[in-house]
């Protein structure tokens, strides 16, 4: 399995190296084969261990879903980026494997959300391609985002010390996951119109308001994510180093203040600095995670051989530790590389975009994506203090899945748009 994921990752980067379309297609086809093999092997092991016939059924459903997703997508949109589709499928596939191992019921729920989200977001590339008024309604995005966040702040339920979710008729829902996207749209629309000082100031105010609400709801990871995204987008839009430097200084100051004011933040930082000192209490989660990663080693203990459930919130924020424990450090590194591959793809799309609005959106969403990956993986491995962010496409959680789908499909839409234009040019 490790070999397969290594092959997959290799193909992923190989893809960039080939200039001609045909060989790229070949790489993608091989990627598909590798993915289905990993999938098959993993579920075979799960079935042998549990001997639960439902697993087979579940496996069948997943295969149908992935096949349908990969092929129908291509059928509907001719110029789709196969690499992105493949990577999304692989990440989902690994997520489902590890979730099935941790909790079958949760995996099934995840799968249902996944399938629904896939269908729902199917249309996004189409919308991007045909509705270009999207760039006109900047304030609308800002208002929606703020409203959603404020709603959570006032009404939200508290989990693990942070107010993140709204509960509507028993279904909990995390608006901040979607506000990430409206936020990027908002910033892109504002800077598309103008990058003079007034706009920048106004946009900064709204962006700061986003971050403040998140910090007030104690969602520090979210706050940090928005902050970095905004700062980077600002820099790209204006090319002014001063904004970047000033932003970093302001951010550092704000982080220091947050550390002084919130005990919640202090807890996380002390737990990060020396988790062993308070192993039973504050350091519990991170040390359990390190035990998991350390015991798994390079090659992993194998599915059902570890104890991932020892780690609190393993199916969400700490899923990377579970992957590393049972599937191995190499496997986990490959997942990381695949995420980076996605990010590079996003950046290439951003670079090729002519329109500032789309360029900014592609870039902003790419930063949102990769920052999230960095925060969660860094937190799990004790590289940085844990911030409580999910791993896109892999972690359990309906909102996270849906928003990641939207994110990927928007980028996909931009890619398709670009390719269609290129083809038009060639024909014209």
């Amino acid at each position: 399995m490790i070999l397969l994921i290594a092959c997959y990752t290799f193909f992923n980067f190989r893809f960039f190296a080939y200039p001609d379309m045909e060989r790229k297609q070949l790489m993608c086809a091989r990627q598909n084969q590798a993915m289905f093999l990993i999938h098959l092997l993993a579920y075979l092991i799960i079935y042998l261990k549990t001997e639960d016939p439902r697993v087979l059924l579940f496996y069948g459903a997943q295969v149908i879903f992935f096949l349908a997703y990969i092929y129908l997508y291509r059928l509907f949109y001719r110029n789709v980026s196969r690499l992105l589709v493949n990577n999304a499928c692989l990440l989902m596939c690994v997520g489902l494997i590890i979730l099935t191992r941790i909790s079958f019921d949760r995996a099934v729920r995840q799968f249902v959300v996944l399938a629904a989200a896939a269908v729902l977001t199917w249309l996004i590339p189409f919308i991007i391609d045909h509705v270009w008024q999207l760039s006109r309604i900047g304030w609308f995005y800002g208002a929606v985002g703020l409203a959603l966040l404020a709603l959570v702040w006032i009404l939200g339920t508290t989990t693990f010390g942070a107010q993140l979710s709204l509960e509507i008729k028993g279904v909990s829902f995390q608006p901040s996951e979607f506000v990430k996207i409206t936020f990027v749209f908002f910033v892109a629309a504002m800077f598309y119109r103008s990058t003079d000082f007034r706009t920048v100031a106004a946009t900064t105010a709204v962006a700061a308001f986003h971050v403040l609400i998140l910090v007030a709801s104690k969602d520090l990871g979210g706050g940090l994510l928005f902050f970095i995204t905004y700062l980077f987008m600002l820099f790209i839009a204006t090319s002014k180093w001063m904004y970047l430097g000033g932003g970093i200084l302001a951010g550092g100051g704000a982080a220091f203040l947050a550390y002084q004011i919130f005990p919640h933040v202090q807890t996380r930082v002390t737990a990060w600095a020396d988790p062993w000192a308070d192993i039973d209490n504050r350091g519990y989660q991170i040390t359990q995670s390190l035990f998991a990663i350390g015991t798994g080693g390079w090659f992993g203990l194998g599915l059902y051989q570890g104890m991932p459930y020892k780690i609190p919130v393993v199916e969400k924020d700490f899923i990377f530790a579970a992957i590393s424990e049972e599937l191995g450090g190499i496997f986990a590194l490959c997942i990381l590389l695949i995420c980076i591959g996605c990010f590079l793809q996003f950046m290439m799309i951003a670079g090729s975009m002519q329109a500032v609005f789309f360029k900014l959106i592609a870039f902003g969403l790419g930063v949102v994506y990769i920052t999230q990956v960095f925060l969660t993986v860094g937190g799990v491995t004790k590289f940085i203090p844990s911030t409580g962010v999910t791993l896109p496409f892999v972690s359990y959680g309906g909102s996270s899945i849906l928003s990641t789908f939207i994110l990927f499909n928007i980028i996909q839409g931009l890619y398709i748009l670009k390719r269609n234009e290129e083809e038009d040019d060639e024909e014209g």
Partner: protein, 499 residues
Amino acid sequence: MKRANPNPNANRNILILTYVILGAFFGLMVYFCHFLFKEREGVMNNSYNARLESFSERVVRGRILSSDGQALAQTEVGANGEELRVYPFGSLFSHVVGHSTKGKTGLESLGNFYLLSSHGNLLEEIFHGLADQKSQGDDVITTLDVGLQHTAYLALGERKGAVVAIEPGTGKILAMVSKPDYDPNPASLDAAWEMLISSDNDQGQLLNRASQGLYPPGSIFKIVTILEAMRENPEGYLDVHFDCSGVFQEGPYSIRCYQSTAHGSQNLGQAFANSCNGAFASLGLTLDQESMGQLTRQLLFHTELPLSIPYSKSSYNVAAVGSLMERLAASAGGDPLALTDGEVSQWEVLQSSIGQGKTLVSPIHFAMITSAIANGGILMKPYLIDRVQNEAGEEVRKFLPESYGSLMTAEESGKLNDLMVQVVTEGTGSALRDAPYQAAGKTGSAEFETGKETHAWFTGYAPAEDPKIAVTVIVEEGGSGGRTAAPVARAMFDQYLLR
């Protein structure tokens, strides 16, 4: 809808930020690899890691072997699959190998991870997994020498004490004995457990005196005092003469030599060989206490030792160490003896120069200092696990000797070597005088309680010209170091060098 890009730098900047982010990820990945390479085992062996226990459901605990492959601990599997940990040598290795029921100690704890990991044939592993059979855990091959351990064990006999033997050039721990001991075999341990942990039990059978015992060093500490004299006066330190009458009088204080023997007129080398307390007490008064404090730190007093087994930190007479501020802090802590009052500190200096007073050392710490002297001043980190191999005898992991660093210069270690040879050829180390090899060492007879016999110490190595083994011996209430402890070391050297 296409508006010309108003910002031509955008793509370049995207590239820059992409590199920044890639850099961050590179750091993350390097860290992740470093964790898996370096820190992993320490983390895994943490007693809070519940995962290791679960290994024993799939793996039969491996064996612990001596350096020549004799089993020191092994697991016997009965007909019904029940497992029994057996220690064929009984109490011979009780502390260093430890026990694995009633918690894990010694090598059973140190090597826990290896013992519970299986690196067998891959096909066999799969077969075992499918057949629900347990795999055989890896074997831990130690640096311990059964013959040497046995010699130390017999030489100590029923007396309390400890013996540590180290190979100076590598840091391999060859033998480690602590008395009194206990039988680690589960049945005997179960039977004796209540008695062993009872609060009425003052014997401390479970304590590994070799690494966790703290004793006043007595005259073996003169190695440190003379090293300080050597540093302060490299040319003329040996020319200091002292006339010993058996009692050294300094103001109101008197320092006696062992059994008030009068050593007569002697230079410092002779005083070292004869272990003359008066000479060293008066020498101590001339030494810079600040720099003496620094030297003890350099020799790992008050410092973490490079050891992976539990140990106690050695301490040098606290009042004499460090700055005025530290002393004031110590006196604020309610310790009147630590006051900087001239008279009190003079007494402390007299005492600490001959290894009495509040100075305390562990036997393994002095074995480390001794092996550094034997190894040209360089301390090799002591270690117990030489390698790990799977059931079929294929090597899984090899541990190589590691240097801790220099405790002293090669020149200083050479001079100490000459002095310690002199102890054997003309001084208190007479038990080793007629050996067919040239030994070097220092004896000690440390007072610890008025009215009780002194603790007998010997620390040394052989052969002096090319040291193969360094040994530190302490016999509690053994009397004279030369008469009681040196013969134990002699037996060890004979066993190791003449077999």
